[in-house]
Symmetry: C2
Subunit: 143 residues, 2 copies
Amino acid sequence: MSESCNTYHECCLYFTANSLARQVNEMAEDAFKITGLAPSYAHLMLLLIEEPGLSQNILSDRMNLKASTMTRFIDKLMQKGYVERVQEGRSVYIYPTESGKSLKKSINQALSILFDNYCEVMGKDFAVKLTADIHKANTILKE
Amino acid sequence: MSESCNTYHECCLYFTANSLARQVNEMAEDAFKITGLAPSYAHLMLLLIEEPGLSQNILSDRMNLKASTMTRFIDKLMQKGYVERVQEGRSVYIYPTESGKSLKKSINQALSILFDNYCEVMGKDFAVKLTADIHKANTILKE
DNA sequence: ATATTTTATTTGTATGTACAACTAATGTCT
DNA sequence: AGACATTAGTTGTACATACAAATAAAATAT
């Protein structure tokens, strides 16, 4: 443990990362209201619009979610008519529908709003650097 | 959005922070097995051992959890006999029991193991710096 | 070609967490 | 003091996510 911390709560990556996720979730839920989707579903849609035909397996890997969670996410996006499943052998490939693709604009807009919001509070430089570092950590942890 | 990102997925704080939280959760769940508690409960116990008698309200604020979530956390810790509630007026103050206090050692051990684990993968300097930055972001976002 | 193992997905179930509505206590204004 | 507003906590409900077991297809070994 780092010697420069008063309490474990500020120097444990588990505690701090979860806290941050919860706080940013709150902002994100707000910003993504205009899309009609929860932020994680919007994230998934964006992946699919960029690369149609990814398998569920790959999708869960990209988002660091378990396969079972991905099944449920896709179920819900199908219900809303935003994606379709194409089964080939044991794999299932996911494609956005036209109506799914049409979400792109509002999702990007929501991302922009969210970005502006947290930059306003934390300062842009710090926010961008922090995000890049967290991304780096994610990459490393994925082995 | 930062100009240096290929995709939104790596430059959106929401996406990256959630991903990180999920990955670190996995490591934490592992490390905290020796305590018999899920990491978030251990976190709470640690807060209570350090400062017995915090109100539920303050506890949820410290952990960035909603009051209703805190009610449920405390319910569970009471069932296990690790804390007790002392109601005074409309506030409820929480105290660790003897058996609760005795968890301190194994929780600290788990924290140590977890810290070593992620430092080994990410490098200690980077890990410590990242945690400090995330803590800073948390503080700022809490206004 | 059959048996075995591995891989992708699904389903049942459990837990973490939040929101909204509710209760009860306290504080404020007149 | 009585009416209204605020605050702390609880409860019902919903959703995100995970784990474990089940299914089914593909790959491998014999």
